[in-house]
């Protein structure tokens, strides 16, 4: 069963994809954050570029940091961004 998700992108992930956020229908079978990155990479060159080194991309589900293996079931908003450089 597919699910609707709000995706948000920050910093150079946002720049590469070319938009700060979008609502996306995620197909059944995409179960984790890592799988979502792989699936997004197949959506076009801008996504492939943004996720070409998925190891450096961080993610948050509903505004909490998560690991790549985190399940996405039940999520409303998933964000992708580079390592943080605040402070």
């Amino acid at each position: 069963m597919s699910m609707m998700l709000k995706l948000r992108y920050f910093a150079w992930v946002r720049e590469r994809i070319g938009k700060p956020e979008e609502d996306v229908e995620i197909p059944a079978g995409v179960a984790t954050v890592a799988e979502l990155m792989t699936w997004l990479s197949g959506r076009g060159e801008e996504y492939a570029h943004a996720f070409d080194n998925p190891k450096v991309i961080r993610a948050a589900i509903d505004r909490s940091h998560v690991k790549p293996q985190a399940p996405i079931a039940g999520a409303r908003e998933i964000a992708f961004f580079p390592p943080m450089t605040g402070g």
Binding site: R8, F10, A11, W12, R14, A60, R63, S64, H65, A79, F81, P82, P83, M84, T85, G86, G87
Partner: protein
Amino acid sequence: MSPTIAVKVQREPFDVSAEAAALSRGRTDVGAVVTFTGICRGDENGEAIAALNLEHYPGMAETEIESHVAEAARRWPLTGAVVIHRFGRIVPGEDIMMVATASSHRAAAFAAADFLMDYLKTRAPFWKQVEKASGPTWVEAKAEDDSAAARWVKPHQAAE
């Protein structure tokens, strides 16, 4: 008295001394106040910069910082803590962010401020872009910041 806690994420400048003064005003159990102020420098790796542009994740920035302040208050007997982080365009010489911690004794105030800074650097959703003559570039995260933050992980959390 319960700890005086404040977290703000804002575009506007802040007043470190007013925030720090508020931590001890009207109470006589405060023996130590530590403040940290992060200031925009005029260079990045030796190259002059015109400004920093700070992007953040609204909503998550506040809740992430609040959870770290709450964790600091669990680990140390704080009488108060304030964290303010700006976003937007910041020019050299301007303040970027501040932490102030207060306790009856200095060791707790120092440790909590140090802890909060390490966590803000590696966990708070902010990203710095610098404006240079050669064009804008995103600041890269430093491995030393990750290792500094790792100092505070308790043994039972290390495997997470």
